[in-house]
Symmetry: C2
Subunit: 247 residues, 2 copies
């Protein structure tokens, strides 16, 4: 299978990392809209417009599947992308909802959803989790995490102060949805803050779990062909891909 992975920037590489670890695909075409990142502070209509442009870009390749690695796009533009695309389109939000349900025991589990402002405002995770019977939900827009990760702050006093700033008044959850592809990079600090009992839901692992249910994968691809595209500074994207994916 040849698949496309779309993200607003570089964050979706954490999803590619999960896909590579499970050796599911023959070829992955990654497109990061680095010229217009971040989407998480943008309006719904703008996000939809950009997402449809990404679908058009992917039409240059004969893809069997498009994965939307960006939580914000998954929350707002999945239907519109499906209308425009000529192949199936899967998003990390649907996958994350199902992974959360698999990870916790009982419908009274406390779930804390983290994301960009746009993702949290969409209430996409809450709508899905409520439909599955979960009611004990909290969501928090944690806008400072993305710029921190981009400055390679994964620990230390700024991050600790920010964790207290966002979470000191919230109940400790049973599951924490890392609703933004940048957040796995601070998962250690989050796990430590919320305790080892708290299940962290990672978009990359969630989408693998989801795809393995949707499709029958009969073959493993140890050497997936990777093609990286960026709307700006593709060299920077390739450099980060090399570092994060060791490829």
């Amino acid at each position: 299978m040849k698949i496309g992975v779309f993200d607003s920037g570089i964050g979706g590489l954490t999803v590619v990392k999960s896909l590579l670890e499970h050796k599911l695909f023959e070829e992955i075409v990654y497109f990061g809209d680095t010229a217009r990142v971040p989407y998480g502070v943008k309006d719904k209509n703008t996000i939809i417009r950009y997402a449809i442009e990404a679908v058009e870009f992917f039409k240059n390749f004969e893809l069997d599947l498009i994965i939307v690695a960006c939580n914000t796009v998954s929350a707002y533009a999945l239907d519109e992308m499906r209308e425009s695309a000529s192949c199936p389109v899967f998003g990390v939000v649907e996958a994350g909802i199902l992974a959360t349900a698999n990870a916790v025991e009982g419908k009274d589990a406390k779930v804390l959803i983290l994301g960009t402002k746009a993702t949290v405002n969409s209430k996409a995770y809450e709508i899905g989790l409520r439909a599955l019977g979960y009611e004990n939900l909290q969501a928090k827009a944690t806008g400072l995490f993305v710029p921190m990760v981009e400055e390679e702050i994964y620990e230390g006093e700024i991050l600790q102060a920010t964790l207290r700033h966002y979470f000191s008044t919230l109940d400790k959850p049973n599951a924490l949805i890392l609703g933004c592809t940048h957040f796995p990079l601070i998962s250690e600090a989050l796990q430590e803050y919320f305790g080892s009992e708290c299940k962290l839901i990672h978009s990359g692992d969630a989408i693998v779990e989801y795809l393995e249910k949707e499709f029958t994968f009969t073959h493993k691809y140890p050497n997936t062909e990777l093609k990286f595209f960026a709307s700006e500074n593709p060299d920077a994207l390739k450099k980060i891909a090399k570092k994060w994916l060791n490829n």
Copy 2:
């Protein structure tokens, strides 16, 4: 005089505030490219492209002058904007350089330049200050300040930890250039950190000082007509303008 003020987002309203305080203009047309903010992490060619589009937008009005409130655009795209525009174009970087020279005593003054990654990489402030004979220059990209200001963090432990993170290894400067329109909103914390002897250079005040040298203003306009435009969510921009400018 009718003028245009261009910024990548809402930050340029701090410049409009200075212009209004000095009652220099009959009409101000503000354009914030809120759909594509932030520019500070983008490439030179992208910034130039967006800046030229802003010039085209301003051609819908008969303007006497365009002020570029965004430091990143001023650093990278001023020449290209001047080529495209049918009126003079002034930028806050030139203004800030001259304001710094006026604020400090002696060419051996220590100047610390703060800005986005793009502004700092451009070395625009250093080039101008060196041309005036200043050699004791340091520059620091402080990318976390913009998202903090946008989350209305103007004080407290996150900001204090971030100040230490960026500045603990640097010499205390005689002048500090607030090379991003968001930074005046944390000027109190910066002034306290660097001490009351340190001169803070504010883009809005600098551009007023600059314009008052370039033009003879014979009339005061206590009721400047304000027109606000945004490439996304103009209502949000107008709401913030109301709050910041009390208009």
